[in-house]
């Protein structure tokens, strides 16, 4: 066999080529080639390279372990593995198998120069590629796979469960026709109940109204009696009035009014004196500042001591007119004098100073402005204000003239007003004094008053009667009763009809129907209609109850299955972690049986005991850690021969290979004992003896010598 290759790994930026004189032409057909070297010397790569070149990952996909397939097929990734090779192998029939690949190209196989595809090639040769394993490690591997498969199944079941639950919930949101029908019936029933209650209420109201109309008819009849009495009283009063002669009309003097008005006049005269006193005070005040002697003289001559009687006899009028005119002139002169004083330059200055004072007072009230004066202008406004006040206080003339002006300004007007008042009261007193004394005895007045009262009473009774009679006539039973006789007759017939009926009982029943029963019925109707609307708005359902029950059943099963699968993870984890396995349910036991059978199958259903005895097994109990044998015995896992079992397993595989050209690649076989190796070698020798072309390659770790070596075992 000739082997040449170049492998460049971009990730390591490193190129690998075969060791000259060893790998290139050291591997021989019809032999067992044992490659020894320390780790990372390319031993396993050689097995992978030959397998890749022989299309093992394509043609033996279902015969080899996934882990082996994975380590071969990775060279398809030309980005990660820049591989080229040229391999020549002599076949059993003497033809030459050439395997080639360029770095960027695909793998090719030629038999004597003729291109062979993967399938054609597999008809010529068979490859057994494996690595011996400890059965206990294999159990762990199987359990790891079972855990993975269990989780995959659990994932699918959980996803299905979610979909079933969603469908279940969604269909619950669909219309319930039975419920809708039920609500319809309840609505109809409640409508009927309401109609019945309304009828009862109407009947009761009618009955109550009839009984109440009896009372009303009684009142109308009493009003008729009262009206007739009023009519009689009216006629009597009218007759009595006619018997009295109406006295002549003369006005009667009102002495009380005369006294009141004279008292008012006395007060008006006092007020006039008070107004005159204001003028006198003004003259006195101004005399301190100017000459008022002429004005005072005119004032002294004024006549004001009027008697009350002079007001009524007319002698007062002329005197008052003169007084009014004089006082007006004096006041005018006084005001002119005041104005002259105020217009004097010194007083003008004082007035302006007074205005400054007002401005300063407002400035002080404004804290911000006051601060500016104090801090920026260095002026203390309070001190300035005090000084201004002192100046103004020293000159009292200003206050005096101001007061004078204020006091006398309205005096002429007030005096005129008081004069007009006196004229009015005198006119009333004069009128009253002109009236005479009464001589009538009052009998006509009495008769007249009685007649007026009787007339008013008759009018009232007639109005009352008409009003309640109109009410009565509006009641159907009394609609044609326009006189007493008919009203009494109709009232008697109704009284007989409702002879033994208690109106309070009727009112209580009517109140209960309207305030409780009808309200309750309306509430029920509203509730049923709301529920009906809610259900009616839902989507219609297309599935019968049987389908919905099935859906619920499968949803329940799916939940149960998910629960079981979840529970199966526990024993797997417990075994992997070396813990004792607790079997809580029968399902757990059965799951362990299934797992155990898969483990047994992965070991080809047999083990070798430590003494070399072969035992057929059908299961492995992960709880008791025992292999269950076909002869109903059991073998503890620690009693199993690890190496021999693997050797026997490999030998079995070799024996099952039947093609003309056989390749046996066993990685890391150096770990097994010589006895185990012997079993494998013997199987290979048997195949050679059968005339097959056999190329076996073992790899073994040699920790003592790192260099790669090839040993031929045949």
């Amino acid at each position: 066999m000739k082997i040449d290759y170049t492998l460049f790994l971009p990730s390591e930026d490193k190129t690998y080529v075969p060791s000259p004189g060893l790998i290139q032409d050291g591997i021989t057909e019809q032999n067992i080639n044992q490659i020894l070297a320390d780790n990372s010397q390319g031993k396993t790569f050689l097995l992978n390279l030959l397998s890749f070149a022989l299309y093992v990952d394509v043609t033996h996909k279902n015969k080899l372990d996934d882990r082996v397939i994975a380590r071969i097929s990775k060279y398809e990734d030309t980005a990660e593995y820049k591989l080229s090779y040229d391999i020549e192998i002599a076949l059993q029939d003497g033809s030459l198998l050439e395997l080639t690949k360029d770095v960027e190209g695909t793998r090719k196989a030629y038999v004597d120069g003729q291109l062979y595809g993967a399938q054609n090639l597999s008809s010529l040769l068979e490859v057994v590629y494996d690595a011996p394993q400890d059965p206990l490690k294999r159990i762990l591997g199987v359990l790891t796979d079972v855990g993975k498969w269990n989780n995959n199944l659990l994932k699918s079941v959980t996803a299905s469960n979610i979909q079933l639950s969603r469908a279940n919930n969604s269909l619950k949101e669909s219309r319930d026709e039975k419920l809708i029908e039920g609500y319809k019936k309840q609505i109809e029933k409640t409508d009927e109940r309401l109609a019945e209650l309304n009828k009862q209420s109407k009947d009761l109201k009618k009955e109550i109204a009839e009984i109440e109309s009896i009372e009303l008819a009684g009142i109308v009849l009493r009003s008729y009696t009262e009206f007739k009495t009023a009519q009689h009283q009216y006629a009597k009063a009218q007759k009595n009035l006619k018997n009295h002669k109406k006295p002549a009309t003369t006005a009667k003097k009102n002495s009380s009014l005369i006294a009141t008005k004279r008292k008012e006049n006395s007060e008006y005269l006092m007020s006039i004196s008070a107004e005159k006193q204001k003028v006198q005070s003004a003259l006195l005040d101004l005399s301190e500042h100017t000459d008022t002697s002429l004005l005072s003289k005119r004032f002294t001559n004024l006549e004001t001591n009027w008697e009350l009687s002079s007001l009524e006899d007319g002698s007062w009028t002329e005197s008052f007119s003169s007084f009014k005119k004089s006082i007006k002139e004096i006041v005018t002169d006084l005001l002119n004098t005041v104005d002259k004083l105020l217009d004097a330059p010194e007083l003008i200055n004082l007035k302006q100073l007074d205005q400054v004072k007002v401005v300063l007072e407002k400035t002080i009230e404004n804290a911000g402005l006051n601060k500016i004066f104090q801090e920026k202008l260095n002026l203390n406004l309070d001190e300035i204000l005090d000084k201004i006040s002192d100046v103004l206080q020293d000159l009292t003339i200003l206050d005096t003239v101001k007061t004078v002006k204020r006091n006398i300004d309205n005096v002429p007007e007030e005096i005129s007003k008081l004069g007009r008042e006196i004229h009015n009261t005198v006119r009333i007193i004069t009128i009253e004094l002109a009236k005479g004394d009464s001589s009538d005895d009052g009998s006509y007045d009495l008769a007249n008053t009685s007649f007026t009262l009787a007339q008013s009473n008759l009018k009232t009774k007639k109005g009352n009667l008409q009003s309640i009679k109109d009410d009565l006539l509006s009641i159907p039973h009394f609609s044609n009763c326009h006189d007493e006789e008919h009203i009494r007759s109709a009232m008697d017939s109704l009284s007989r009809k409702h002879k033994n009926v208690n109106i309070d009982t009727l009112r209580n029943r009517e109140s209960d129907i309207n305030n409780r029963q009808i309200r309750e019925a309306y509430n029920n109707l509203s509730t049923y209609k709301a529920k009906f609307d809610e259900e009616d708005a839902k989507s219609p359902i297309h599935y019968d109850s049987s389908s919905l029950e099935k859906l619920a059943k499968y949803s329940s099963w799916m939940k149960m299955l998910g629960k079981n699968l979840n529970a199966f993870n526990t024993p797997i984890n417990q075994y992997e972690n070396g813990q004792s396995i607790q079997i809580e349910h029968e399902m757990d036991r059965q799951f362990i049986d299934i797992t155990g059978k898969m483990i047994a199958q992965s070991l080809n259903n047999f083990i070798l005991r430590a003494n070399g005895e072969r035992k057929e097994i059908y299961s492995f109990d992960i709880a008791s850690r025992k292999f269950l044998c076909s002869d109903n015995t059991s073998v503890l896992s620690r009693e199993v021969s690890t190496g021999l079992t693997s050797g026997t397993y490999l030998a079995q595989k070799i024996k099952l290979a039947t093609k003309s050209n056989l390749f046996f690649f066993f990685d890391e076989i150096g770990d097994v004992s010589n006895k185990t190796l012997e079993i494998v070698n013997d199987a290979i020798k048997e195949k050679i003896a059968e005339g097959k072309s056999v190329t076996a390659i073992y790899t073994s770790v040699d920790n003592t010598d790192a260099a790669l070596k090839i040993r031929h075992l045949l």
Partner: protein, 52 residues
């Protein structure tokens, strides 16, 4: 392949324990393999093949 064996074993175990018929097992398997976001109609169609 081996994963399918495991799945079959587990489903057989469930079917036996809960007395499911073969048709019901088939429905159960189809439901486990439901595609994502299957419609209610699709689910009910699968379930309808259970005539029990």
């Amino acid at each position: 392949m081996k994963e399918n064996m495991y799945r079959d074993g587990i489903l057989d175990l469930f079917v036996t324990t809960n007395d499911l018929t073969a048709a019901q097992k088939e429905v159960l398997e189809k439901l486990i393999d439901l595609k994502d976001n299957a419609s209610i109609a699709e689910i009910m169609e699968i379930i309808s093949s259970d005539e029990n």
